[in-house]
Point group: D2
Chain length 382, copies 4
C-alpha cells in the first residue's frame, strides 16, 4: 500500500491540475510530500505559495530551478538542476510513489529522477495530443511511468496503444475540472481589486475577454512574430481585455517584451495585465468572459465543461481533443479577430463532459490508496 506520495508542483496551472487529488489523498491519511519547484516558488509568477498555505498543505522542500534567460538553453539547464536536486530529495524522503503532472518541461526531469532511483511514478493527463515540447514531454513521461491517470477515453486508448499495460491505465477525467463549483459565482466588486495589475482596473460590471498566450517552445524563433499577430488583432477590440502574462517557458521573455512595447507605445485604456488568479477565481474569470483567446489548455479543458467561447491560436494545442466551444485559428491577426468576434456573438456553449465529470481527484486517490504493489520494471506490452 502506498503510504508516502511525493508531488512536485511546478506552477499555478500545475497546482490547479492536482489540487483535488491532494485534498482526497489527505482525507485518506496518505502522507503527501509536497515539493514546490520552478515558477511555483517565484512571486513574479503569482502568489502560489500563499494559496498552498491557505489550503493547509505543508511544503516539504522548495527547489529553486529557474535559470534566468527564458531561452531553450536555460530551460534545459533548469531541467538539469531539477534532476540534480530532486535526486537528493528522493533519497531523503523515500516516497513510495511520485505523482507527476501532465506535460511541463519540468515533468520529464522529475520522472527521470524518480525512475533512475527506482521509485514508481504515477502520471496524470498522459496520452493527450498537442504541439510544442509538451507533446514530447508527455509521451516520454508515459514511457517512464508505471501508473496512468488519463483524462479522456481517447487518451486512455493512446496510452494503451503506446504499449502500456491496460491494467495500469485508469480513466479518471481531468482533476482540474474538480475545482469547478456547482455554481460559479458572478464577479463582484472586489474581484479584480484583489490582484496586482498593470494598466487600468477592469470594470467587473462590463463585458471583457481574456487572453492567455504561452510561447511554443518548438517554434521558439517565431515567438515574437506569433504574438504580434495577436496584438494586431486585439488593437481592433474595444471591449475590456484581461491579459495574463505567459508562463516561464523558453520564449516567454520575447512575448512579454512585445506586450510591454505595445503597451508603452499604445497605452491601451481597455486592457489590464494580470500575473495570475487563484484557481477558483480563474474559473470565475473565464466563465464570465465573452471570449477566451490564446493557446492555454484551460480553454479546452475547463472551457469545455463551462462552455466558454474560446479561440485557440496556432500549434500549441494542435491535435488535442476539443469540444465545440473552441475555434482553432492560425497566427493571423485578421483570422484571430474574426474568430473572436464570432465567439463574442455566439455566447456560451453547452456544457461538455469530454475532460471529466469533476470526480477525478477522488477516483485517483481511491486507486492510489488501493494499489498493492507496483512493479517498477517497465515492459512494452505488445
Amino acid at each position: 500500500m502506498t503510504k508516502k506520495i511525493m508531488v512536485v508542483i511546478n506552477n499555478r496551472a500545475n497546482y490547479s491540475r492536482i489540487r483535488s487529488v491532494l485534498v482526497e489523498l489527505r482525507k485518506k491519511n496518505i502522507t503527501i510530500q509536497l515539493i514546490t519547484n520552478s515558477a511555483a516558488n517565484l512571486s513574479k509568477y503569482g502568489d502560489l505559495l500563499n494559496i498552498i498555505k491557505k489550503d493547509k498543505f505543508k511544503i516539504h522542500s522548495k527547489i529553486y530551478s529557474v535559470v534566468e534567460g527564458e531561452i531553450p538553453q536555460t530551460m534545459t539547464k533548469s531541467a538539469g538542476l531539477i534532476v540534480l536536486e530532486l535526486s537528493a530529495l528522493l533519497e531523503k524522503f523515500k516516497p513510495d510513489l511520485v505523482l507527476t503532472i501532465a506535460d511541463r518541461f519540468e515533468t520529464l526531469p522529475i520522472a527521470i529522477a524518480a525512475s533512475y532511483m527506482n521509485i514508481p511514478i504515477a502520471h496524470t493527463q498522459g496520452g493527450e495530443q498537442t504541439g510544442s515540447i509538451d507533446e514530447s514531454v508527455r509521451h516520454a513521461t508515459t514511457k517512464l511511468s508505471q501508473i496512468h491517470f488519463p483524462s479522456t477515453k481517447k487518451s486512455m486508448e493512446n496510452i494503451i496503444k503506446m504499449g502500456e499495460d491496460k491494467k495500469n491505465v485508469y480513466l479518471t477525467g481531468c482533476p482540474s475540472l474538480d475545482l469547478i463549483p456547482n455554481k460559479i459565482p458572478k464577479l463582484d466588486k472586489s474581484f479584480f481589486k484583489k490582484y496586482r495589475y498593470v494598466g487600468n482596473l477592469t470594470d467587473y460590471k462590463k463585458p471583457y475577454i481574456v487572453i492567455l498566450q504561452h510561447p511554443v517552445t518548438t517554434e521558439f524563433k517565431n515567438t515574437s512574430k506569433q504574438i504580434i499577430e495577436t496584438i494586431n488583432a486585439i488593437k481592433n477590440i474595444t471591449k475590456q481585455i484581461v491579459w495574463l502574462w505567459p508562463n516561464v517557458d523558453a520564449g516567454s521573455d520575447a512575448i512579454s517584451k512585445k506586450i510591454r512595447t505595445f503597451r508603452e507605445e499604445n497605452n491601451p485604456k481597455n486592457i489590464s495585465f494580470y500575473k495570475n488568479f487563484s484557481p477558483v477565481d480563474f474559473l470565475r474569470l473565464i466563465d464570465n468572459a465573452d471570449c477566451f483567446l490564446g493557446n492555454s489548455s484551460s480553454a479546452i479543458r475547463e472551457g469545455s465543461y463551462l462552455g466558454v467561447p474560446s479561440v485557440n491560436i496556432g500549434s500549441r494545442q494542435s491535435n488535442r481533443e476539443k469540444s465545440k466551444n473552441v475555434i482553432d485559428v492560425d497566427y493571423n491577426a485578421k483570422k484571430i479577430l474574426n474568430a473572436v468576434n464570432y465567439q463574442i456573438k455566439h455566447g456560451k456553449y453547452k456544457k461538455d463532459n469530454l475532460y471529466g465529470d469533476r470526480n477525478a481527484g477522488l477516483r485517483i486517490a481511491n486507486i492510489i490508496k488501493k494499489i498493492k504493489k507496483i512493479n517498477i520494471q517497465k515492459k512494452l506490452n505488445y
Copy 2:
C-alpha cells in the same frame, strides 16, 4: 541536408555500436561533432580515448559526468550533470542533428537536452525489449526522437506501434555487427598480453569461457545476491575464464566487491579479470569462446550473428529477441552451471541475421545524408 551531426559516446560498448556509422558519415564529408561522456573518459573503464584516436576521430569535447558512488542517486546526479553541460555544448556547436545510441542511462539526458533545445534527434536500436532501466530509457528516448534506426523488424514494428510516423522509421540492422570482419582471426600469442589484467594470464591456446555481467539497476538491492549465484556457479568450472568488469551503472560497485572478495578468498587460478578489449578484439574473444555467460546484449546481438553459445542470466535481457544461441536462466547457481555445461558441449551455433547483415552503418549514413528537413515538432501518429 544535415551538415553537422553530434554524437555522444558514453562507453566502449556505445562506441562499438556507432563506429561504423561514424566511418560512413566521415566518408560523406558530414561534420561529426564527437563528444565523449561518462565512462568513455575514464581510463579505469578501459582505454577508449586511445581507440578513438587511432580511428582518427576528433573529440570535440569531453563531459566528465560520472559522480562516484555507483548507486541510483549518483546515477541520477550524473544524468543531471549531462543535461546541464550538454546544454552549453549544443549552444556552442549548434548541430543539425544529434545521434543518440540505444538505451544507456546517459542516452535519455542527451535526448532531453537536444529536444529542449529544438535540435532533432536520431536514435539507434529503439523498439527493442529488455529489462532494467534500459527498457524505460529506450522507449522514452523514442518518444523524444524524430528519426529511428531500429535493428530488427520487430523493433521497427514496435516503434511504429508506439505512435511514431512510419516514414521516419528505417530498418537498418544493428551497427555493432558491422565491426565483424569477413573472417575473424583466431587468437594469437599477443592477444591477452596487450591488455591489463588481474590474475593469471589467460592461455590463448586453451579453451575458455567469457563472463560479463552488469547490474540490473531496477533490481539494485538484489545485485549482490545475483552475482553470488554466478560466482557459485563458476566455482565448479575448471576451464579458463575471462571475466570482464561490469559497466558504470548503479550496482556495479556491489558486483565488483563480490568478485574481488571471491578472488581474494579463493585465489582462483583459472580466472583472469580484464577491464576491456578493443571492439574488434572483443569480437575475436567471444567468437573463440566456448561459452559467453552473463547478461550483456552482445551475447544476443553479435553473438547471434557469430553463433556464440551463450547463457543469459536474469532479467536484464528479458523480452529481447534472441536467436537459438542463447539460453536464458534465472539467478540460480545450479541452473547457470547446467546451462554453461550444455552450451560448452553444444559448441558453435549457426549464424543468424536477426540483428543485421553488417551494413547498418552505411544505411544509416545514407539516410542521414539524404534527409532534407526534419520537423522537430513531434506528433503521436494515431
Copy 3:
C-alpha cells in the same frame, strides 16, 4: 608572456570597471577570451550585450547562471553553477591568465575555478574595505590571486599586509575612472529618450537627483526596512528623481517590490525608473546630478573624481576610503533627507584623484604584457 587572457563580465558595472583594460589589451594584440556571465546576459538588467558588441569585443561564450529567487540560497546556487560551467570553459580555452574583477558574488567562484585548474589569476580592486558579502569575496579572491591591481595606495598596502608578495602588487588606480572623458558633455534632448523607463520622462533641462541602492546581502532580512527609509526620505523631495533598479544580489527582489508598491500607491510624477545607462551616459548622468543617493560604489569612485555631491546610505560602503564628496548616513529617512538637502545646496566638490588618474587600463595592460612567468603556487609572504 601572457598570450590569452580570459575575462568574465558579470554585469554592466563590471564591464565599466574593466573596459579600458580590454581596450588596451586589444591594442597590444593579446587575445581576449571574453565570457559574459550572470546579469550580463539578461536584457532585464540592461542591454550590455549590445554595448559590448558596439565596442567590437567578441563574446567567446555566455554562462547563464542566474537562478531566480534573489535570496541567499539562489545566489549560492548561481555561484555553484558558475564553478561547474567555467570548469569546462577553462578546459576548452586554456587561458594563460584569468582577470577577475572586484568583489561581486560571481568573482569568487571564477577565482575558485581558475585556481583549482592551475590557471593564474589577476585581480582588480583588491584590498579595499566595505560591508556586505563583497568584503568577504574581495579578500578571499585576493588569497586566490597571483597578481593584484589595487586602485588606491591604502588598498595596495592592505593587500601586502594580507601576505601577498609586494612584487606582485601593482598600484594602477581604478579602470572605471578611465571611462571619464576629458570633458563630460551636458545632457541633451535625446539623453533620457534613448532608454526605456517607467514613469514620466525626465526633463533633461531641469535639475534632478540620482538614486541607486543595492541590497546588502549580509543584512538580507532587513532589506525591506532599509529601502523604506529611502522611500520615505524622497517622498519629501520635489526635484526630479532618476531611479535605477538594483543589481541581481540576494535582496534585490525585496527592494524592487517596495519600489513598485510605492510607485503604484503614490504615482509620483517626479520620479522615473531606469534599468541602466551606457557606461559613458552613466558618467554624464551623475556628473550633471544635483545629488547621487544610495550605496553604489560609483558615488565613491567616479563620484570622487567628478566631485559629485553624494549621500551614501548604510553599511554597504562602510570602511571604504572616501573623498569629501560623500556624506555617510544611516538607514533613517530624516537623516537621508537632511543629507540630500545639504548636498544639493553644496553643489559640486573639487576633483579628487583618490581612485586614480584615468590611466589604470593602460598600466594594467602594460604589466600583463610584460609579465614573464607566473608562479601559480601561492605563498603567504610573512
Copy 4:
C-alpha cells in the same frame, strides 16, 4: 549561544582532525549536524561511514560530489556540486554555525555556501603555511570565516596579520593530536589482518616503514615524475613497506597508476598496499614505524608529537612549521633513499608540543559553547 553546528566531513583525515571536537560538543548537548561529503561516502577510500557509526554520530545527510577523473577539471566540478547541494542543506538545517576543517579543496566551497547564505563559519587549522592548492584554500577560507581555531602560535599570528580580529582568533592546538592515547599500544597479531590489502600481509613483528604520498595539485603535470622518484628510491629498501593509497585530489589517479605498474612489473614481496586505517590504528602504525615517508601532514603534526622519524618529499608541505623529526627532501630518488636510511638509523625523536597538547577539542567546544553572538559581517582589521 550556538545551538546547532554543522560539520562537513570530507574524508578520513578530515574526520581525524575534528573527531575530538565532535565528542566534546556532544557532551555539551550542542546539536551536531554531521554531513558526509566527497571521499567520506566512498568505500574505495576506506570505511569511514562505519567508523562514524561506531562513534555514534548521526549522519544527517550525504553529499555525493566526487566527479570521476581525478584531474583539475573534475576537482573543480566537484567543488561546484558541493556549493550547489550544500545550499539546499543549509536552507533545510539552518545551522547557527558551520565548522569547516583545514584546507581541503572541499573546504572552500563549504565556506562559500555558508558565507553566501549568511551563516557564520568557524575554521580550524587556519594560518598554516604549505604548498599545493591547500595554501590558497586555507587562506581564502580564513577570509570567509568569522571564528578561527589555529593549531600553532605562528599560525595564530599569521591569521591576525591577515587582518582578522584578534578577539576571534583562538589558539587551541590541533584536534588531530587529541586522538593520541596516553600510551600507544604496540601492534598485535590482528593489526594488519583487520584491513584489506593488496600484496603480502605485513608481518607485525618485523620492522617496517610507512609511505603516504599525495599529489600536489598545483604541480599536476609533474605528478607521475614525482612519484617515480619515490618508487625508485624504495626499490632499494628491503625492509617491509606499508603503502597507503593517496587521497582523491587531482593527480591521485596518476600516482595510483604508477604504483600499480610498479607492482605488476616488480611484484615486490616486501610491500603491502592499504586503503586506510582507523584514526587510532593509523597513530599506532606511524608510532611503531621505522620511518614515515611521503608528504602527509600527519608526519608533521602527529609525527611531531610522537617523534616519528619522517622524510617529507617535495613542495606539498613547504613552509609548514616542522619539528626535528622531519627531514625535507626534493623529488630525487637518491636523496629520498639517503634520508630514509638516515631516519631509520636515527630512530625515535623527542616528543614536541608544536601542534598541541591533546586538548584542542575541549578548548574549541568550550569556546563554541560560550560564544554569544557572531557578527556575520567580515571586516579587514587594519
